[in-house]
Symmetry: C2
Subunit: 686 residues, 2 copies
């Protein structure tokens, strides 16, 4: 909402559909009616248990959840709409923040923005929003479009996301098309804006969308209560409004038309917002109003912004900035300082629970402000051991195969066509078919590192299988390779070693050096508190467990010895061994999944979020082998020795996974590997 909103006027009086608010919060009507419960130990009668509590359910998506809860609500917020989350935070007094981004111009910038999303997600924003960039074909499938960036944020980064949408100069059909597409992609929140008319003068269309309120009405009439709708508020009044009061009236009309909350245009003084908020309340606007915070990050961006938004920078700010206008660092420090002090004042007023940040797609200043305010949640509790997707279809998802642990975006991509997601038990998934992964260059699947960097890490020139072992070993140890470069990613892991895996570093280094090329592993855990900083996940008061897991590529020679060794471990160790052609060796007695991570929580059913599933393993195998070629071999010239070495490994190695079922005992998988090497080194017996 920073750029390009010029005017909003002449709205007709109308009544909004009252049905919607009745429906709020009654998603679990039957549940609540039956609950007869509260934490303060009140009693109430069960005899009314079959009656609902008055609201009638509308046709919204959420109504199908209205009977019996079919999934454990490990993370209460996962099942809530944005407006409910906001209310919950307000009720509990938890302060929150949100982040605004605009779509990037190039595909490379998109890749960077996505990894920024991932990093900033770690701070725990309540939502992010993506602006609508009319000049950038915002509803298209381009990887830089507003729609696709928002899609990526929701589905691949697991962020609650608001997609901006402007309505002027667009047909109803265009708008409806965009909204349908947004819904299909799993977007649940729209910021309804007018947008900029083209040209200086502007004729209103009689039946068209002339104002944001028209878009709000259209969304409510076409999509009922599906979307949460946000609208813009102008603490200083909209520059094109007849008056501050007239603008407040327009705002109220937008709320009456169905908006759920308001985000304001930026402002420079806390009292501006606080007055605006009081004025809104005075005319009966009761929905949440979220202040838009703009940490000044540079002289030019401020000037640009001021020009577009027609806001005036207060003299006291100009006085500080002008003298240091060429010192970016100084301006940013000042901006951070200013934002922190303004936010403190807003929060201290008791009227503000959440802060919305105009990031300008930058990370440092906003993160700094949030950290200093103490609302950057450095280590948020994980609801599950993997990052959950925010797509509404995936709300119940709580089981995944372990194979994609380091490639969650690929997993989401390959399961995007599923109608059901497994919940409680992998075997319950009715959609076991994985989509093919053919395009390894999809921007959310692409490596963050450019080709030159990958070559430095993985070797400009390979001299044999051993030089490949060396790359794996360097990735594990974190030590620089012989050319002095650290290996910070691998085709199967775009990030450095996880803390959990680091604990296995010593053993992993040993085995990688000898050609057991590990790509995924976890230690066994026999009941750690769910709040454990490394292994914990889920609500507090619980216990988490793991079976030891080890997955690696290795030669057929090693596989032959390994199989001999595995015999003596019988059912203690389950294994699946497969080569690129699909030759498959296993001791699993049937096709059942093996749970390798699970948690026990107070008042909950058992959660088992990761499994080794024999069927999925065959889909993963295709991907895992293809990554040798797609990400590594293709760095080299065709027919080059380096490429042929990778090709040889791809063609001849096996992908192996091992599970030690006896989780209370010491992990035996290292012993299995040691025994294997010992067998290989022992003189052949007759």
């Amino acid at each position: 909402i920073v750029y390009g909103t010029k005017g909003q006027h002449e709205m007709k009086d109308h009544q909004r559909d009252g049905r919607r608010h009745q429906n709020e919060g009654i998603r679990h009507t039957k549940l609540r009616a039956l609950t007869m419960v509260n934490e303060n130990q009140h009693t109430c009668s069960a005899s009314s248990s079959s009656k609902s509590d008055g609201g009638s359910s509308s046709g919204s998506e959420s109504s199908k959840d209205s009977s019996r809860c079919s999934t454990p609500v490990l993370d209460a917020e996962r099942h809530e709409r944005l407006r409910e989350k906001m209310r919950r935070r307000q009720d509990s007094g938890d302060r929150w923040f949100s982040l605004e981004f605009f779509p990037p111009r190039t595909a490379n910038a998109a890749v960077n923005l996505i990894s920024r999303f991932d990093r900033m997600a770690a701070g725990g924003p309540l939502f992010i929003d993506v602006t609508w960039h009319p000049a950038g074909d915002p509803g298209s499938d381009k990887e830089t479009s507003s729609m696709i960036i928002a899609n990526t944020a929701v589905n691949y980064c697991g962020l609650e996301t608001i997609l901006h949408m402007t309505c002027c100069n667009q047909t109803k059909d265009d708008i409806t098309g965009h909204l349908q597409k947004a819904k299909r992609l799993g977007l649940k929140n729209i910021m309804a804006l007018r947008g900029d008319p083209v040209g200086e003068e502007w004729e209103e269309e009689v039946h068209g969308f002339n104002h944001a309120v028209d878009l709000v009405k259209h969304i409510r009439s076409e999509f009922d209560d599906y979307f949460d709708i946000c609208v813009a508020g102008y603490p200083k009044g909209h520059p094109e409004a007849e008056s501050y009061e007239a603008d407040l009236k327009h705002l109220k009309e937008k709320v009456l038309a169905g908006a759920d909350f308001i985000i304001t245009q930026l402002f420079f003084r806390p009292e501006t917002f606080l007055k605006f908020m009081k004025d809104c309340q005075a005319i009966g606007i009761t929905c949440p109003i979220i202040p838009g915070i703009f940490p000044i990050q540079g002289y030019h961006s401020l000037r640009q912004l001021v020009k577009l938004s027609k806001l005036e920078v207060p003299q006291e700010i100009k006085d500080v900035i002008e003298p240091i206008k060429d010192n970016d660092a100084a301006i940013r420090n000042y901006g951070v300082e200013l934002a922190v002090s303004m936010c403190r004042e807003l929060l201290d007023s008791g009227l503000v629970h959440g802060l919305h940040f105009y990031t300008l797609n930058r990370e440092v200043a906003t993160t700094e402000v949030l950290k200093r305010l103490g609302i950057w949640n450095e280590d948020p509790r994980r609801p599950l051991p993997w990052a959950v997707s925010a797509h509404p279809k995936r709300r119940v998802e709580d089981v995944r195969p372990i194979f994609w642990a380091s490639r969650p975006k690929s997993y989401i991509y390959r399961t995007q066509e599923w109608d059901d997601f497994p919940n409680g038990r992998w075997g319950n998934s009715s959609s076991p078919a994985f989509g093919e992964l053919k395009d390894y260059y999809l921007f959310y699947l692409k490596s963050k590192s450019p080709r030159e960097e990958l070559l430095k890490m993985w070797g400009e020139e390979l001299t044999g299988e051993e030089s490949v072992f060396e790359v794996f070993t360097c990735y594990i140890t974190g030590e620089p390779n012989k050319n002095g470069h650290r290996v910070t990613c691998m085709p199967w892991n775009d990030d450095p070693l996880a803390t959990e895996t680091s604990l296995l570093k010593e053993q992993l280094e040993k085995v990688n050096r000898r050609g057991i090329l590990t790509i995924n592993s976890q230690p066994n855990i026999n009941g750690k508190p769910s709040t454990d900083p490394i292994f914990g996940w889920g609500p507090s008061g619980g216990y988490v467990f793991q079976k030891a897991y080890l997955e690696f590529f290795t030669s057929s020679e090693i596989v032959t010895a390994l199989l001999k060794v595995l015999k003596k471990y019988e059912l203690r160790v389950n294994y699946h061994i497969v080569n690129v052609k699909g030759q498959n060796i296993t001791n699993a007695p049937d096709l059942q999944p093996n749970a390798v991570t699970w948690g026990i929580f107070p008042g909950r059913e058992i959660i088992q979020p990761t499994v080794v599933d024999p069927v999925s393993f065959l889909s993963w195998k295709d991907e895992a082998f293809a990554l040798w070629i797609e990400q590594w071999a293709k760095l080299y010239e065709e027919e080059s020795p380096s490429r042929m070495i990778i090709q040889y490994i791809h063609d001849n190695y096996y992908l192996v996974n091992l599970v030690d079922n006896d989780f209370p005992l010491e992990n035996c998988l290292w012993q299995v590997v040691d025994d294997t090497f010992e067998l290989l080194n022992s003189p052949p017996q007759q």
Copy 2:
């Protein structure tokens, strides 16, 4: 098949439908095709994974399971049909036995027979069979009918069951009606017999059922492959057959018409059976042939049998029996001896894998024979911590609320209308509505003890609430009450205390004495081997866990103190407290079930067979309170003081359940109760 089979002749030659056998074993076609697996580590290609292995699926019930396994096969046999189980045992070399019963004449005898089923089920029969008693209205809903006895065996005792059915003198519609009813009730196996013609002479009906083979054909034509069909074999030839050879030919015709296996008429010498078996094989009968074993149990029953079956008792047996014909014990001992030696010879031949016993509804002789043969499986591994029902609809069931732990038959009765059973997670049940339990005298729900015995145990005359406490305490301790009678059952527990509960005896005694009237409890278990003799269940190599659970009735005074105490335990202890009117007090944050028993197994998903489900608790509460009145108060005259005491408790007490979520720590529930009593005894503070 002991009684009433007189003749079987003149069958036409015909071809049986070959489709059926093709279909066998391909229920998991897709699974197997994808598996590419075997335990001996062979390899095979995955490229053929999408092809089935040749068989085309028929329209049988099992076809809906043909895609993905949706339940953990903890007990492989649970998903198999009887003929598959038989084949599995034969392949693995495991010897088995089965038991034949006839329907009782009176309702009381039916109650006794059902508890005999439960006791004999402990020995692990592969199946039982129930004879068809044409004079006893065998297809009716009477509690003594063949149909209902078989229904009870399958559904309430969890026994694989064969229902006999005779066809002569019945219309096709009658037969079809019986078969449809059997299918509806969950019966999956039919023993197809001709039965006795009425009167001496007998006219064949042209289009009627004149022979067992007609019934076999009818079942196959009307029900395709739904039923497994058993037919009778006559080692000495049927008494009405033209010849032994002609009778063998008739037998082969029955097999060709679709019979899956053969059970023989009794015989007295092992060589009789072995010759018969060889003769069958010689003419191409390849299905299993199971010898019918008749342990002689008394002089009169033997004579009666011989008369009906037209068999001749060998002279060497007569020589022993005649001199001791008035000594029942001696005859039974001899009969056991004889049966054991015959069975040994049969088993030693290597041709016999299973033995079928004609029990005459008696327990001792058959059990003795089985124990001496070493095939009575004294302590069979429990596939789940509760007894599973053998109804095909319940094949996937692996979660139940803990409340019915001691009343499994009531649970099955109240959930018999469910279409789906929860599997993996209680929350997945789509049929959460429990049927009402109104008729507490249904014969499978009735107490095994008559009124007089109950009065002796629970008090001819109650003098106050304390005398009720005393009854509960005596049940726990096993000590005789003040009138010298042991309390071996309670309205909520038809059996003496379980071993698991006995471990809590000391604490339970203490609290029952003071008015915490316990009806269900389990200790916490932090990972015992799944083979643990007391707590173990499921396949070996796993670990089982439990949260401590305590359920009891108690006064409102104690509840008030308890609630104060519970406050300081916060979420560590979940509680649900409800009175007969439905006033409900709980600290559960929502309606989610709490898993209180779970198991981790090699290569399996997590199994959580018992949960505390807040919604089910309200259905259980009605039953639990009603049992005070139905089973206890009604023993006394209306308006009598004893009855009024029970009525008072029913009207004023609360039903409480407590779960200690912190299963790795020492069970805190006893501390909770101690604190409660301490609070009650402490002087009121101001």
